[in-house]
Symmetry: C2
Subunit: 216 residues, 2 copies
């Protein structure tokens, strides 16, 4: 995804389009559809505004193109079949780990999704990979309960709550950095720690424990 094509000074339609899409993804993530400025996108891309309208007829069309590309590239989960082979707790850990990795490496998509949610009534979300993730997690949780690995819980609600834990750290970065004034939240070390703590919390949160009190 994030490969810039600025170096070629010769005319290259393909490269220009990719370059515009990259800059647009960034801008839309930051500001949402309405507040995004085509001028900023053009400036970051290195081409002029006119080019944006040449390739993508309007800001809306460009937005749609960004979403389309993002959905096709985001969240490469382990295949359903592979997950079914694993014990439920290992399957869940795999999914959560994949999710955390995706979110850490490209925060633009979750940010765009959020803007979608509160501005555009989640119109595009149906197409997105996140619903798949939720369904997958929910199914694993159901299986884990029936196999006795997990405590009694409501699978869809718990899947949503897990997803919340996974995305919040990166989504709220600019706010949360005040909570860690002396650390770099995006450093390799911190991201790894976040991954580890999130997984620990989630796994402990769903697993059945011999003498633990059941929640119902």
């Amino acid at each position: 995804m994030v490969y810039s094509a600025k170096e070629s000074k010769t005319r290259d339609a393909e490269a220009t389009q990719v370059s515009i899409l990259d800059a647009a993804e960034e801008e839309f993530a930051r500001h949402g559809l309405k507040a995004a400025r085509t001028e900023t996108i053009a400036a970051r891309t290195g081409v002029t505004k006119a080019m944006i309208y040449y390739y993508f007829q309007s800001k809306e069309k460009l937005y749609q193109a960004v979403l389309d590309r993002a959905f096709s590239e985001y969240v490469h989960l382990p295949k359903q079949l592979d997950l079914d082979q694993l014990p439920s707790d290992e399957a869940l850990e795999q999914v959560v780990r994949g999710l955390l990795a995706s979110v850490s490496c490209n925060q633009n998509i979750p940010q765009i999704m959020f803007h979608e949610a509160i501005q555009n009534h989640g119109e595009y979300y149906k197409q997105a990979g996140f619903l798949t993730v939720l369904s997958t997690m929910s199914a694993i949780l159901e299986r884990g309960m029936s196999e006795g690995d997990f405590r009694p819980l409501d699978a869809p609600h718990t899947a949503v709550n897990i997803l919340g834990t996974c995305v919040f750290y990166c989504l709220g970065y600019e706010n949360l950095k005040h909570f860690w004034p002396d650390k770099q939240m995006h450093s390799q070390k911190m991201l790894e720690q976040h991954t580890q703590e999130a997984i620990a919390l989630v796994m402990a949160g769903v697993q059945r424990h011999e003498n633990g009190e059941m929640s119902k």
Copy 2:
């Protein structure tokens, strides 16, 4: 907060200002500072755009006023002293429960905070109540570990992860509704279920269990 003063047709400066603030909070929550339209705020309020500039000199000043009011009203946590009296697990449950209640009853504030994070680099977040919530939770987690109630964990990271679980359901509502096509996510019943499931996940996630494997 959400009390409208439209019914008085006589001139009432106080009521007009409150009315503007209410509408503005809504609009800023939906669109963020930049994309928010003063025209929309005025329309929703029932007064004209000019009034907004009469009372608040600019859109920015209005935004600041909305934030100031929100911070002073949001998240009424139990007093520090009361929490210290309780066993750590009960204290944590109290805080999480309070947080879930605040978020469910007014989603505007978390939404504004989110926009702050990704648009304005979290400038205002330092003032907000959320950092207090995080510190409070973190302290409780530390105490719980030292008293042997909680498993070994990183307190700040875990506090952030818990907060994520608490806010995500309401923040992502418009997206997540596609995941529950047959339910009303804002119904009393669903909100209660979310509260219950979130608390169950969090408490199970942090508590020490006799035979559970420690995460470190």
